[in-house]
């Protein structure tokens, strides 16, 4: 199978990966960039575990071929948190509100929620539920996740900035 060399920016770093045309962005991130925080659940666009930011917008990395991301800027779950390993406001809220149990779906949720709150910093509960509808969680029953989004939204308000 023919392979191609492509260049993209991942978490602010220029990367060169060698992929087949059919290699998904998710596989390239995991296997070539060794960024295994991007999880693969269904690999056909249903579960949302593989959500990453492509040029700032949340997308499913299993529905994008790596060749399509050439020249783009990709942010994975690893790229959201500061270099010192501390948690982001969204991650902290997930921890405090029991927004996760096994954690498999969590990277996808955190990336989706980060993008969602950047666009809608003061969501209603209805909007939160709608925003979460593209990610599946088999453990929590979602209530803790909804609570976490509410808490993160509150803490991200400019008036509450520390």
């Amino acid at each position: 199978m023919a392979e191609r060399t492509i260049e993209l920016t991942v978490n602010g770093e220029a990367r060169t990966v060698v992929v087949e045309d059919r290699t998904t962005l998710a596989d390239a991130l995991r296997e070539q960039c060794h960024l295994t925080g991007t999880h693969l659940g269904c690999e056909h666009g249903v579960c949302g575990a593989c959500t990453v930011l492509l040029d700032g917008e949340a997308v499913r990395s299993c529905l994008l071929f790596a060749v399509q991301a050439a020249g783009s800027e990709v942010t994975t779950i690893e790229g959201l948190s500061p270099a010192d390993g501390s948690l982001t406001t969204v991650q902290e809220a997930f921890r405090e509100c029991h927004g996760l149990q096994c954690g498999f779906c969590t990277p996808g949720f955190v990336v989706s929620v980060t993008a969602f709150l950047a666009e809608n910093p003061t969501p209603t509960d209805e909007e939160i539920r709608e925003a979460l509808s593209g990610n599946l969680c088999r453990c929590t029953g979602y209530q803790g996740i909804i609570k976490a989004v509410r808490l993160a939204a509150e803490r991200l308000q400019p008036a509450n900035a520390t």
Binding site: M1, A2, E20, D21, R22, T23, T24, D27, E43, H44, G45, V46, G48, T51, L54, E57, A58, V59, R60, C62, L63, L64, F65, V67, Q68, S112, A115, F116, R129, E130, A131, S133, G134
Partner: protein, 288 residues
């Protein structure tokens, strides 16, 4: 990765797209947002030797107004339709139907042209195009042609597009004065495909009174293609009650039983959704 091997082509000009499609014909498929095609490839429901990716084609995305029409370029993403104020103002039905498409992560990638050309019978945009009498702009090396929405959809995932053709844009008529629009659908979860959906557009008569000048009603999720409920439309223009119009629509569709819902349930829901949608649209139209 799950798809079977294929060769990816990333043309930057429409002429290159057309040449590739002319060369590979049935062995090639146009890749737009990929939010339906890639799952189908991953599940190996389909396979193609060549994917012609149109995401980088110059000039294929974008929204413009021309003489009473709003033209939406094929690779315009759903999120753009959702956010662009001129879409809300000029073609409210398109703007209001778009948030029902998938989840926001899907809408970040999915395109209008992809949704229309994919022709999923439960999708919103084909029904919107049908209700508004949109015009599809199609190109191939043989030339360009226009296809009316009512002639475009042939069946589940099937349109009149030939293998060498690509949808380049869709033109929607800009809303008339005193018109109203509504979308209603029932799905298991927000973002899932609709079990039954209705989009409608009505224009109130100029004088006082209850008369409507125009009524368009398209249902989706109830057959192989989106369908216009023409008997119900006529009944509405002739002054039938919303309940009668709902019943007329329910009676003229031919939904199927599947694991998501029975045909009987779909028919029942369709009648109710038609009433709800028309109620809101008529109210909006009369407000002016």
């Amino acid at each position: 990765m799950k798809p079977a091997p294929f060769e990816w082509h990333g043309p930057e000009r429409l002429e290159e797209v057309l040449a590739l499609l002319a060369e590979y014909g049935d062995d090639a498929k146009v890749l737009a947002g990929g939010q339906s095609l890639v799952p189908m490839l991953a599940l190996r429901l389909t396979r193609f030797d060549h994917l012609v990716d149109v995401n980088r084609v110059e000039g294929l995305a974008g929204i413009s107004r021309l003489d009473g029409w709003l033209r939406v370029g094929a690779t315009t993403r759903h999120r753009v339709l959702e956010r662009d104020p001129q879409v809300h103002e000029a073609v409210p039905l398109l703007a209001r139907a778009t948030p029902h498409v998938g989840h926001f992560q899907i809408r970040n990638r999915g395109t209008l042209g992809g949704a229309v050309a994919h022709a999923d019978p439960a999708a919103e945009h084909p029904a919107v195009a049908l209700a508004l009498d949109a015009v599809m702009e199609v190109s191939s090396v043989r030339g360009a042609r226009e296809v009316a929405a009512r002639d475009f959809f042939e069946g589940t995932w099937a349109t009149v597009l030939s293998p060498d053709e690509v949808l380049t844009g869709v033109r929607f008529p800009i809303r008339a004065e005193r018109s109203g629009f509504a979308v209603e659908e029932v799905a298991r979860r927000h973002g899932d495909f609709a079990l039954v959906g209705v989009v409608c557009a009505v224009t109130a008569g100029a004088g006082a009174g209850d008369r409507l000048d125009r009524a368009a009603l398209a249902l989706f999720g109830v057959g192989g293609t989106p369908v216009r409920a023409t008997t119900a439309e006529r009944a509405l223009l002739e002054g039938a009650s919303l309940e009668e119009v709902g019943m007329a629509a329910a009676n003229e569709i031919d939904p199927v039983d599947d694991l998501h819902a029975s045909a009987r349930y779909r028919r029942k829901v369709a009648g109710v959704l038609v009433q709800r949608a028309l109620g809101r649209a008529i109210e909006e139209a009369r407000r002016g």
